[in-house]
């Protein structure tokens, strides 16, 4: 009986103890400093991550926090410069695998403090404990540990790791280098499109004027245009770019002209200066206008002479006949060719790399030179295709539709003959 009583009393005492400790624990939850943490993988290869730690100071007058990272997280990799604290005046000290943060100016009333540790080596997949302690000026309290989960690499990350391990493939298709190059390549792409757009716009009126000059009856007008077109079409664009891009600066009065332009000559966009843009755009436009002149001339001359005669016989003047009868028909006829010229000019913008204009190709080359890896070029090619492939498809469709509009039926479908290289059938010569 006595024994039983003692047992009961022990149980009661134990219960009382638990009951007594309850309010104390509840108070501690409201006042003590707590942390929570999140691990994020920041690299394609899953070997580098970033830990975001939220510190809730509770009711304590927090003056200092010490965070201890798991040993496997490579204490060497924690660098002071990679640590960011959301409260001003926080002093960060990195010691071994521990991080000491002193709040010299207090918390400034912040509810939570965020600490971001970037460029952290991630250990092999598994769960790790982040521990630490808080200090309120008088006492040091251990923090409740937080579990950090390092996930296993997913399929994509495995694939990336696999490619990066290949001796040959990674030199051309390195996802890490492509991902790194993408932002600058995107800039270069925008620069290339900018040059293309204005070069093309400038070339059109020039080409139109020259096509009329070349069709003129007077030799004095016709010959300069013919000479220009022949010279431009007969020399490499690269030579023309070098000549024009640098040659412009030697023109008398160039300096004064640029000074006179003032703000129009002093802006820059995506690491390319205004005068660089102007010079490369002029160089490309001068080249393209010669090709366009021939496109316009062929287009205008392909319109049957009877069209002009019919318009003239109705009393329309030559400019009227041109504007309302010949040119509208010409536009429809040359539209596909003009779009092909657009595509060609876009590809030609890559030659601007030779004079140091940071367009797509030069951006790719810069990353390539730094990494000794061909992947940036592959990515740049992808950027070029981004525009040329859909446009090319569009031109092909347009050609077919215009042919239907003009003749009532589309172009004859080419019959596939067995003369493809990989055909197993013997080659048949069509009669």
């Amino acid at each position: 009986m006595q024994l039983r009583m003692r047992r009961i009393s022990l149980a009661v005492i134990a219960m009382l103890c638990v009951a007594a400790s309850l309010p104390a624990m509840a108070g501690a939850a409201g006042s003590q400093t707590t942390i929570s943490a999140d691990l994020e993988i920041t690299k394609l290869t899953a070997d580098v991550g970033e830990i975001i730690i939220s510190i809730d100071p509770g009711d304590t007058d927090l003056t200092r926090v010490e965070l201890v990272f798991p040993d496997q997280m490579g204490s060497d990799s924690i660098k002071g410069r990679d640590v960011e604290v959301s409260v001003d005046g926080a002093d960060v000290t990195v010691a071994e695998s521990a991080l000491e943060i002193d709040f010299l100016d207090g918390l400034a009333g912040a509810d939570t403090i965020e600490v971001v540790v970037a460029n952290l080596e991630t250990p092999s997949p598994g769960e790790y404990q982040l521990t630490g302690s808080s200090f309120d000026g008088t006492t040091s309290t251990a923090l409740a540990p937080v579990t950090l989960a390092v996930p296993s690499p997913n399929f994509a990350q495995d694939a990336v790791l696999w490619i990066e391990d290949q001796p040959f493939l990674h030199l051309f298709f390195s996802p890490v280098i492509i991902a790194e190059a993408l932002p600058v390549l995107w800039k270069g792409f925008q620069v290339a499109v900018f040059i293309l757009f204005f070069g093309y716009m400038l070339a059109m009126p020039g080409g139109l004027a020259m096509s009329f000059m070349k069709m003129a009856k007077t030799r004095l007008v016709r010959w300069p245009a013919t000479f220009y077109i022949d010279v431009v079409r007969g020399t490499p664009l690269l030579v023309q770019i070098l000549l024009v891009y640098f040659g412009i600066t030697f023109l008398p009065g160039y300096k004064n002209f640029i000074d006179a332009l003032g703000p129009f000559a002093s802006w820059s966009w995506h690491s390319v200066d205004a005068t660089q843009y102007y010079r490369i755009i002029i160089a490309l436009a001068l080249n393209s206008s010669a090709y366009m002149a021939e496109i316009f001339r062929a287009g205008i001359q392909s319109i049957h002479k009877g069209q002009l005669e019919a318009a003239r016989s109705l009393g329309m003047t030559v400019p009227q006949s041109m504007a309302f009868v010949v040119i509208p028909q010409t536009v429809r006829r040359i539209l596909p060719t003009m779009m092909s010229e657009f595509i060609l000019l876009f590809k030609d913008t890559s030659l601007a790399f030779s004079v140091g204009v940071f367009e797509l190709t030069l951006q790719a080359r810069t990353v390539q030179a730094r990494t000794f890896n061909m992947s940036p070029y592959i990515a740049a090619a992808g950027f070029y295709l981004l525009l040329t492939l859909p446009l090319g498809r569009f031109v092909a469709n347009l050609e077919e539709r215009l042919a239907v509009a003009e003749t009532g039926h589309g172009p004859q479908k080419k019959k596939r003959t067995g003369n493809r290289l990989w055909s197993r059938k013997p080659v048949k010569e069509s009669a």
Partner: protein, 244 residues
């Protein structure tokens, strides 16, 4: 005295060294229908084209209602408003509808308003029997229909004289009739017409005067009966004999 609509005086035309017209004299009065016959290369089309200066005359003078069109000072665009021309190859504007074809020059040359040009276009297309085709594009029309649109287009300019340059030569035989019918109606309405054609039946029925040209000169002219039934010149007899 009836007024001369077209007067050609000693017209000469060279293409390089080739003399295509060797002194043509011709006077056409108002309301007269003149059909010009002749073998290929006889200069009949060239003469017609000289009348609205699609070809520049090398020598001689051409008057349209007392205005000398061969004078370089003449505003040829003003003269052309009075001379309508229909071509062998139709020469419709393929990027415009039938109505668009008829409206364009009205708006640009005669400065008619859009509504007015539209109304007249509908009227003229109706006159050539194509009121249901006004929104069709030339490619959607048969040759005969295209040629009738071309006529409506010329007529919409209210010409004083109409030139027809082998307008049925490019047509399938069964389509010739519809085009000739329009021309007959036009002749009956009193239009002054110069017609180069190989349609002898049309010449006999409609022409007030038939002109036979050969080697750049007018070989013979007269009423259809005179030229067809009692030709005087041996060349005329020979030509008519070949095509009969």
């Amino acid at each position: 005295m009836t007024q001369a609509m077209v007067r050609i005086e000693n017209l000469h035309k060279y293409f390089g060294k080739l003399e295509v017209l060797r002194g043509v004299d011709l006077e056409i009065t108002k309301g007269e229908v003149v059909v010009i016959l002749g073998p290929s290369g006889s200069g009949k089309s060239t003469m017609l084209r000289c009348v609205n200066r699609l070809e520049e005359a090398t020598g001689g003078k051409i008057f349209i209602e007392d205005d000398e069109i061969t004078d370089p000072k003449t505003d040829i665009n003003k003269i052309r408003e009075r001379v309508g021309m229909v071509f062998q190859q139709f020469n419709l504007f393929p990027h415009l509808t039938a109505k668009g074809n008829v409206m364009l020059a009205q708006q640009k040359v005669l400065k008619r308003t859009r509504d007015e040009a539209d109304r007249i276009a509908c009227e003229k297309l109706d006159a050539v029997g194509l009121s249901d085709k006004e929104d069709s594009y030339p490619i959607q029309l048969s040759g005969g229909q295209q040629q009738r649109v071309a006529m409506a287009r010329a007529l919409a300019m209210d010409p004083h004289v109409m030139l027809f340059d082998e307008v049925t030569s490019a047509l399938d035989p069964e389509l010739v009739r519809e085009v000739l019918d329009v021309m007959k109606k036009l002749a009956a309405d009193g239009m002054t017409m110069m017609v180069v054609t190989h349609e002898m039946g049309f010449a006999r029925d409609v022409a007030d005067r038939v002109i036979f040209m050969d080697e750049g000169v007018i070989e013979e002219q007269g009423t259809p009966e005179e030229v067809f039934d009692h030709p005087k010149s041996d060349r005329t007899k020979d030509f008519l004999g070949h095509i009969k």
